[in-house]
Symmetry: C2
Subunit: 94 residues, 2 copies
DNA sequence: ACGATATGCAAGCGGTGACTTGCATGTCAA
DNA sequence: TTGACATGCAAGTCACCGCTTGCATATCGT
């Protein structure tokens, strides 16, 4: 398993997670286009490498169908950050 | 304000946060000794530089008294991670 | 089958970050 | 005041990371 902390350290990777949160099941090309539309200059290869890191960290699930890949977000690995230092929304529930 | 994500990307900095969570108000020397005791090989200067990064990110509060500095943990900047991707312990409450 | 599309793989490059080294500053005790 | 202690500052080194480049692979439409 990859390092979740390292995975979210990069701004481009965080933008990818943002994009996947807004629209699930995107294709690599779709993702690239949208990122470029949001001002990011990342090439397809760069995004692909970022996805590999995110997948290693478990933050992203990649499902392959034919010549496409469909990418989905999985935020559950972020849970360990909360678990480690004990913060979170619940604290403000009362 | 510094980047919280970048701040927690480094294993040594996470160990510092762990140590401060277990024991608040430590001195730089104290912190170094404990980290070395836990198997980290960081020098004093290295730890000092890490603290600067953590302070920039708001994860640590440094209070200076005489020739000592006292370091305290502040986990509130981590909240933005939850706010951004909306996960957390509450989801599994039901 | 053939061309076009969508993605994978690998080597190389530049910049950034973590660490060390050496010295400077400041504070306490005697 | 002087020496020991606790920390700050700055330059230099080295490895890693993100990115590009170029080519390879695989799938769909016609």
């Amino acid at each position: 398993m990859g390092d979740v902390y390292k995975a979210i350290a990069d701004p481009t990777r965080r933008a990818i997670l943002d994009e996947l949160r807004d629209r699930a099941g995107q294709t690599l090309f779709e993702l690239c286009k949208r990122l470029i539309g949001k001002g990011f200059t990342s090439s397809r290869q760069a995004v692909s490498q970022h996805l590999a890191v995110l997948e290693e960290a478990g933050l992203v699930v990649i499902r392959r169908e034919g010549r496409y890949i469909f990418i989905d977000l999985d935020t559950s690995p972020l849970q360990q950050i909360y678990d480690r230092w004990g913060i979170g929304p619940c604290a403000s529930d009362t």
